[in-house]
């Protein structure tokens, strides 16, 4: 039990860190290409970019660890095997966190943040699930 928890913990840290790096890169790409620009002129502001990197990488690593522990707890009931199991878990997180949040935002007309939920959150949930599924095995 302790071994599994540790494994979920370590796999979660790594998967969360990777997800955070991807989130930061997506925000930069979104700004450069104009796909999704939450903050105008942000690319010229080093302090702002540093804050973004620390926020996204730091928080995704912390939350990745927590989600990794939850993953190891509910592992047996998640469908699939290996990477597929991790991907299903990532999609489950995307459903309950991001789709639910996006549904309320859309209902109240905040479409810009709905796009952000899909543009940033969907890829990071998939990558998080992929890495978690690849690293953690009960």
């Amino acid at each position: 039990m302790i071994k599994n928890m540790k494994s979920g913990f370590s796999a979660g840290i790594i998967a969360g860190f990777v997800g955070g790096v991807v989130a930061f890169i997506l925000i930069i790409i979104g700004n450069i290409t104009g796909i999704w620009v939450p903050f105008e002129g942000a690319l010229n502001d080093v302090v702002f970019l540093t804050n973004q990197a620390v926020t996204h990488i730091g928080l995704n690593t912390i939350w990745g660890t927590i989600f990794g522990l939850i993953y190891s707890r509910f592992y047996d009931l998640i469908p699939g095997k290996g990477i597929w199991k991790g991907l299903y878990f990532g999609l489950l997180l995307f459903l309950i966190i991001n789709i639910s949040q996006a549904s309320y935002l859309a209902a109240f007309g905040s479409f810009f943040w709905v796009i952000g939920n899909f543009y940033v959150a969907f890829p990071i949930r998939i990558i998080y699930g992929f890495v978690l599924g690849a690293l953690y095995e009960k």
């Binding site: 926020t55 939350w63 009931l77 459903l95 966190i97 949040q101 109240f108």
Partner: protein
């Protein structure tokens, strides 16, 4: 036949629990804005309440299905099991969302994070408890 009844049971439990949690969230929002924890609504209360309760009822079905699927692995029994499920939802959805808003540290996002965190606590705990009361495996 038994599994069909079980499915109807969880769908109904989810709708009712979701609607209850939506009502609790709105009450929490009103109390919090009245005592100055966050800003009052920007949209008319009737519109806000209708949309929020309908969406919460829909999401209640999904959370109910998740509750029934993972029922055996949620720690505790009876009241505690339901409470833990609500607490888990609060952490994964509301605390998670608030942490990103707080990281931006603007006064507006901090106000919004307070609302999501505190009103969201009562919302999610009531969802878990209502599901636990209405749904028995």
């Amino acid at each position: 036949m038994k599994s069909e009844n079980n499915m109807k049971n969880i769908l109904l439990a989810g709708v009712i629990a979701g609607a209850i949690s939506g009502i609790i969230r709105i009450i929490g929002d009103l109390v919090g804005s009245a005592i100055g924890l966050w800003e009052a609504f920007k949209v008319p209360l009737a519109n806000y309440a209708t949309i929020y309760i309908i969406l919460s009822a829909i999401w209640g079905i999904i959370f109910g299905l998740i509750y029934s699927k993972f029922y055996n692995l949620i720690p505790g029994s009876g009241f505690l099991k339901a409470f833990y499920f609500g607490l888990l939802l609060w952490i994964v959805i509301r605390v998670y969302g608030s942490s990103f808003l707080m990281a931006y540290a603007g006064w507006r996002t901090t106000f919004q994070a307070n609302e999501i965190m505190f009103a969201g606590f009562f919302e999610m705990i009531s969802l878990g408890l209502a599901l636990g009361y209405l749904y028995k495996k």
